[in-house]
């Protein structure tokens, strides 16, 4: 009889627990359905050499990063030093997707802030961004040798995410 009286309290505490967990979760981090799927194909003009193109097909056989950035993107500034450091470490090719940007502004931004990218390609109208499920810049994808998306970072990279998730994942994928 005592136990029966406590049941509503128990239910209440469980609900509170769920709500409490919800408080600390970021609603902007929507799990991507693209993880484990082949990287969507594109062929885009390169930022610095518009006559040349680049796409995931050209990068098959190696692990690479796709970083979505733009000169108008404020939080890209936040993550940029980390990318520059990662570029200097020369662990992995970093491909930049200059998302809905003016090429002149994009180039100037890279000159001013440092260019960590092996190559940047221009997604002027954002169509490739839609194919990759991009909804907020910056976003970073890890693509394996077979061309499968293995990880997606939504929002700016953090030192913690790089050290604990992204770099270990890259090393593991490079071994296989």
């Amino acid at each position: 009889m005592r136990l029966k009286l406590l049941a509503p309290l128990a239910v209440f505490i469980v609900i509170c627990g769920f709500l409490l967990i919800g408080l600390w979760r970021d609603p902007r981090e929507v799990p991507s359905p693209l993880i484990g799927k082949p990287a969507p194909a594109f062929t885009l003009a390169q930022l610095h050499e518009p006559a040349k193109t680049l796409g995931p097909a050209d990068l098959k056989g190696q692990v690479w990063l796709l970083n979505v950035w733009a000169s108008w993107c404020v939080s890209c500034r936040e993550e940029h030093p980390l990318l520059v450091a990662l570029g200097k470490a020369n662990i992995v090719p970093i491909i930049g997707l200059d998302y809905k940007d003016e090429t002149t502004a994009g180039k100037r931004w890279l000159t001013d802030n440092g260019n960590p990218y092996t190559t940047s390609v221009v997604d002027r109208d954002g169509k490739v961004g839609i194919d990759w499920g991009v909804y907020g810049v910056p976003e970073t994808f890890v693509i394996d040798k077979a061309g499968t998306i293995r990880y997606k970072q939504i929002g700016p990279l953090t030192a913690e995410a790089l050290e604990t998730k992204i770099v270990p994942l890259i090393r593991e994928l490079q071994k296989s």
């Binding site: 609603p27 929507v30 359905p33 909804y135 907020g136």
Partner: protein
């Protein structure tokens, strides 16, 4: 005389209104496609401002996705194909009406289960109350005390 000017202004405004309305009205197949595009974009969530549909949102991504919907309608895609296209890129989260899957069963069945649980609880509670034994007889001491109280011979504050 001023009311006459006002009347004239109103008449002019009324004459102008239908002309404007006619301008905004699409015709024929376009209007069907436009209505479809609006209906579809109302069903899809904008991922930038998550409490708005891509029909409501002014975010750039929502504009692009509306463009994408129009393009695909133009290309002859069905509504289901367009929704599948969005889900493949942004996940079930873009749908305002989540699909019935193993992971969403609780979401769909939850309210019904709660109502059912409440109903079962209510029935059991009522049955238990009906089945409960009638309140026990007063013991002889209690009866005596009650009689004394009714007779007013005992101090009620005791």
């Amino acid at each position: 005389m001023r009311w006459r000017a006002l009347l004239l202004a109103l008449a002019l405004a009324a004459a102008g209104a239908p002309a404007l309305a006619a301008e905004a009205q699409p015709t024929g197949r376009d209007s069907v496609a436009a209505a479809r595009a609006v209906k579809l974009s109302e069903k899809l969530r904008c991922l930038v401002c998550q409490n708005q549909s891509i029909a409501d949102s002014n975010a750039e991504l929502a504009q692009d996705l509306r463009g994408q919907i129009r393009d695909q309608i133009g290309a002859g895609k069905t509504d289901d194909e367009i929704v599948a296209y969005m889900v493949a890129r942004y996940g079930d989260f873009v749908l305002y009406e989540p699909p019935l899957k193993a992971t969403t069963v609780l979401l769909w069945a939850g309210p019904a289960l709660l109502i059912l649980g409440g109903f079962v609880g209510l029935v059991r509670f009522l049955a238990a109350r009906r089945a409960a034994p009638p309140s026990p007889e007063l013991s002889p001491e209690e009866r005596q005390r009650a009689e004394r109280l009714l007779a007013g011979s005992e101090d009620t504050a005791a």
